[in-house]
């Protein structure tokens, strides 16, 4: 069974701290996306990063394909960063489906 593992399951930060979220894959994949979901909100695609390093604002993703892992770095966390971060990989079944991890819940306090 193809799997995506995320760690940690939850994270508590003080505003201004940095955070590193990890994602590991059971298969080699050439598509990795990171998503964000505020409680009660819709899932939003943050970054598409199949390999190497990509940055978007305070978010930096690094994907190392040969090690089957990806990370998401949040710098200078803000209260509005609170929510759940999910990573996803492409299924090896072909087609266009993504397989998701169970997410890391981030809580940023003042």
């Amino acid at each position: 069974e193809q799997q995506v593992q995320q760690s940690p399951a939850s994270l508590v930060l003080q505003e201004g701290e940095n955070a590193e979220l990890q994602c590991s894959f059971s298969i080699f994949t050439n598509q990795v996306q990171w998503f964000y979901q505020r409680p009660g909100g819709r899932l939003v695609s943050l970054l598409y990063n199949p390999s190497g390093t990509k940055q978007s604002g305070r978010l930096t993703s690094t994907t190392v394909i040969k090690e089957r892992r990806s990370s998401l770095h949040i710098s200078s966390s803000q209260i509005t960063d609170s929510g759940t971060y999910l990573c996803a990989m492409e299924s090896d079944q072909g087609g266009r489906a993504l397989i998701f991890g169970t997410g890391t819940t981030v809580s940023v306090s003042p």
Partner: protein, 114 residues
């Protein structure tokens, strides 16, 4: 910009009932998806469709039917609701044939079965 609209937002059903969830997108995207989100289990793919009238099964397709009669809409039917079932069903869409397209999601339909 476009939007994905899911209806209804909340759905309460009875055990054994057939329930239909609807999804509309105005991105003009080719591919649409239905995912189920359960607490602690992440998202699991139920069905997806790469074009009008196309259907592809995901890992969780048993117990569900889907229909893509128009490019802009994708519906999901729970064929027989299970007692005490509670989950959020998420519809998503992406542009084209390549797997590196970003996914756009709707707000979800929250299902509760009595």
């Amino acid at each position: 910009g476009g939007i994905i609209t899911q209806t209804p937002k909340f759905l309460i059903g009875q055990e054994g009932q057939k329930l239909t969830l609807k999804c509309q997108q105005n991105f003009n995207h080719d591919t649409m998806y239905w995912y189920r989100q359960d607490s602690g289990k992440g998202l699991r793919l139920i069905y997806y469709s790469i074009t009008e009238n196309d259907l592809q099964k995901g890992d969780l397709s048993e117990g569900y039917d889907a229909s893509r009669e128009k490019k802009s809409s994708f519906s999901l039917t729970v064929t027989s609701a299970q007692k005490n079932e509670m989950a959020v069903f998420l519809c998503a869409s992406s542009m084209g044939g390549l797997p590196n397209e970003r996914l756009f999601f709707g707000h979800g339909t929250k299902l509760s079965v009595l």
